[in-house]
Amino acid sequence: MTLSSPISTSRDLANDVCLSLQDVSISYGSFEAVRNVFMEIPRGRVTAFIGPSGCGKSTVLRALNRMNDLVRGCTLRGRVVFDGQDLYHPNVDPVEVRRRIGMVFQKPNPFPKTIYENIAFGARINGYRGDMDELVERSLRKAAVWEECKDKLQQSGFSLSGGQQQRLCIARAIATEPEVILMDEPCSALDPISTLKIEETMHELKRNYTIVIVTHNMQQAVRVSDQTAFFNAEAVEGGSGKVGYLVEFSETERIFNAPRQQATQDYVSGRFG
């Protein structure tokens, strides 16, 4: 990887916008969870969302592939532009959106099927016609879980440990060949060793995919991400609770070493949150 990516290329990549959030506000019923988010998520890089609980970072993440559609009463104002298309335009099919923007969840959630079928499922429903065995192996290899799985492909996905299950879920997301992978606190249910393995997997993946990760763990954000967005929540007049908003979005190094906002400085130095 060191040979084939000169600096100029990576800078071009940084300028290439993958997902653009334009004045996005998200509400659950009458309760506004996040307001007025402007953000340009670059292609081919890892972007981390950090912030205290209830600041809406997961809500924003789930808005990126219309997962919030599954939550009753959740509405979004503003535009989320992906591939030149507003994802919330009435003509957009959320199923197609999720095929191109995959997701890995907080809790490992393998399907109650064999390891092989867990991977093959997504590919099959997306109309994959190629060599399924090859795809399964390639996906598991990319997610760095092939060694643990290769001798028990026909066993249930639940026979794996928690960390392996989570990497199986990453492999499952990769198998549908998405352009973007969203990860919602993918390591919060895992032990440190498994966490490390997932992070190594992410480093491998960012060569081919745009990754957006929500994390509570600031060290993790430092370790895996190129860009970091800090979200915070504040009480508003007449509101029923706190409303989340984007405080600062910049290079990870900058967020942690020289943030522009005092709130960011306080949060990353552990003064609150």
């Binding site: 890995v104 969840f105 399907f111 109650p112 499922f121 198998a175």
Partner: protein, 292 residues
């Protein structure tokens, strides 16, 4: 120190220990009384009807009044046939309704109403279901101008099975973790694919258990069949003719003044109890199989 110290050894003479013993004894006694009816019924039916168990019971028709011997072959076949018709109606409707309630309705007012109505239907006495189907199908001769028929009996039983099937499907699907649905949506599955390929298989066990229990309950019903399937001393002649069933055979033969018929009623009781027992064991086996 106002509290006195006692020895750490267990002292059965202490009031609290005596009371414990008494309370456990009473609770155990009531538990035994609760299973007593089942044991007594099984023993009684076995003694009275077990004597007649032989292959001819399943291969022969009941004798004409006054004659000896014979079997209940037509009633066994009839019960299976009517239960099958009931299952073929209530499983698609019930499972479909359950899927709607759990997956599609999103707790709308309509869904709450359906759930409430379903609970009410579960409490409707079985004879009402019989009278309802009598009025709807038998009296109107809606099927090929036939009145009493196996089909009418099957529909009456389906009405009885429906609430159980809907409820177990609805509750079984709600037990499926939400994360599993997200996982399927996350790899680009449509709602139909998510439900049919991920959620339904995950809930197979509770649904299958509920269906088997519903069939077991319906197979033993008498009241709804008296008005609908009626009875027949002959082998089944298709689904649009009256048909013999075991429960109605028991009802008819037990009160006849003939020894041979009374004995057949006992034998039928034994077979029916056995069939329901086997169905319950099957349901338990299904639910255990999934846990393994």
């Amino acid at each position: 120190m106002t509290l006195s110290r006692h020895s750490l050894h267990f002292n059965p003479k202490l009031p609290r220990n005596r009371f414990n013993l008494l309370a456990s004894g009473i609770a155990g006694l009531f538990a035994a009384v609760a299973v007593l009816p089942l044991v007594l019924v099984l023993i009684h039916v076995l003694i009275k009807g077990g004597r007649l168990i032989s292959p001819r019971l399943f291969t022969q028709l009941p004798p004409a009044p006054g004659l000896e011997g014979g079997g209940i072959g037509n009633a066994v076949l009839g019960t299976i046939l009517v239960s099958l018709i009931a299952a073929m109606i209530s499983i698609p409707v019930g499972v479909g309704g359950g899927i709607y309630l759990s997956e599609y309705s999103g707790d709308s007012g309509f869904a709450r109403f359906v759930r409430f109505a379903n609970d009410v239907l579960a409490g409707v006495p079985s004879i009402i279901s019989g009278v309802f189907v009598y009025g709807l199908i038998v009296a109107t001769r809606i099927f090929f101008n036939q009145s009493y028929s196996a089909m009418a009996g099957g529909i009456a039983l389906a009405v009885l099975m429906l609430p159980t099937v809907i409820k177990t499907t609805d509750e079984g699907l709600r037990l499926v973790p939400q994360e599993l649905r997200w996982g399927a949506y996350g790899v680009g599955a449509s709602r139909f694919i998510t439900i049919s390929r991920i959620v339904l298989p995950a809930a197979f066990t509770p649904i299958a258990t509920g269906v088997v229990l519903a069939i077991a309950r319906a197979a033993g019903e008498t009241a709804p069949l008296i008005f609908t399937a009626l009875f027949s001393p002959f082998w089944p002649e298709g689904v649009f003719n009256p048909i013999a069933t075991m429960s109605v055979l028991i009802f008819n033969f037990a009160i006849m003044p003939y020894e041979a018929q009374n004995e057949l009623a006992w034998a039928a009781s034994f077979i029916l109890v056995l069939m329901i027992l086997v169905a319950n064991l099957l349901a338990r086996w299904i639910s255990r199989m999934a846990r393994a």
